[in-house]
Symmetry: C2
Subunit: 177 residues, 2 copies
DNA sequence: CTGATATTTCAGTAAAATCTGAAATATCAC
DNA sequence: GTGATATTTCAGATTTTACTGAAATATCAG
């Protein structure tokens, strides 16, 4: 499949952004391609379109499947596996946040908890002890909150996001109670 | 300066997490060290403590200064520059979000806007056109909302975060109006 | 079962990112 | 100004990460 100029630029930019956030460039590019394509593609087609090795596509798709950003599908009359992604940017965002929470945030909470419980902890300066504790609490609160947000319907969230000022006033009221 | 076992593990983990989010490992480690130290440190001391080259520390501190995560300071009777970071995890979080917004999110909004305005845009499939548009709108809303959040006092935010359920009900009420 | 097609694995290569050490530059005390 | 100290720069070395192509494995149709 030949890319249009805009699709190509979108995919390249997405790859670049992925790289800056610790996502492999090929993985991000493949995801962007499927996102724009809007229909299932075979691994061969992906490899040809992006000019990368078939094996690279295989590995990258495995990664995207693990993140649940891509689903396996089949096309009538074609033996090959096809792959597609959601066209719902909210859903994609949720999956990414969920994945990073599991892979990075939760292990961090665990390790910080171990620090607090360790006999060595007393050996730290009061300064360091407090900072480790506060860091853990910060991450914990943020995580709980993200969980709640992710449980909502996209429409609810969109509303909430567009309602910044109202929410602020609401918070102010609650604080005064 | 010799690191205690917990400090060392904290710094190593932080470096690892940084790497996974696209932040140079040394940069993240240096920041973690200053965070735990809680007092200004000279570049020499940082290099010695983390066993990295003095020149590496110099480059990394420049990076941290650009992110405004670290400030230059001086210690009486010592000619050398010293460096310190805030002990307020909220403030650090704000600076990081702000930095990433400027460096990554805003350029992305710009480029997506260019796509929408480009004469080539009409050549995309309706599917792709809609997805590019929705992606931009999603990022835009998220950014505006993040801006508002970051403008709040930490206490207000903490309240909001801890108030997940109440906020959810509030949103539901608003939707029904 | 057999040949054809599709997919995965992985060792080796290529590319990118990071780090170092030496040299250049800057700053300071005297 | 001079020597001592501090800092930055950057070319090259090192390390890490990513990618490729060939071989192995799996799947399927007949």
């Amino acid at each position: 499949m030949e890319l249009t100029p805009i699709s190509e630029r979108f995919i390249l930019h997405w790859g670049e952004m992925g790289a800056r956030w610790g996502v492999n460039r090929s993985v991000a590019q493949i995801h962007a391609l499927l996102y724009l394509a809007g229909c299932p593609m075979a691994a061969d087609e992906i490899a040809e379109t992006l000019s990368v090795a078939r094996s690279n596509v295989s590995m990258s798709l495995k990664e995207l499947l693990a993140w649940r950003l891509v689903k396996l599908s089949h096309v009538m009359g074609d033996r090959r596996d096809h792959f597609e992604t959601s066209g719902d940017v909210w859903e994609l965002f949720k999956l990414i946040v969920e994945g990073r929470k599991q892979r990075e945030v939760e292990p961090t909470l665990t390790i910080l908890g171990e620090f607090l419980a360790s006999p060595d902890f007393a050996g730290e300066t009061p300064e360091a002890r407090q900072r480790i504790q506060e860091t853990r609490e910060f991450i914990r609160v943020l995580t709980v909150w993200a969980d709640e947000m992710l449980r909502q319907e996209p429409e609810t969230l969109m509303k909430l996001l567009k309602m910044g000022a109202k929410v602020r006033n609401f918070v102010r009221r609650e604080k005064e109670e």
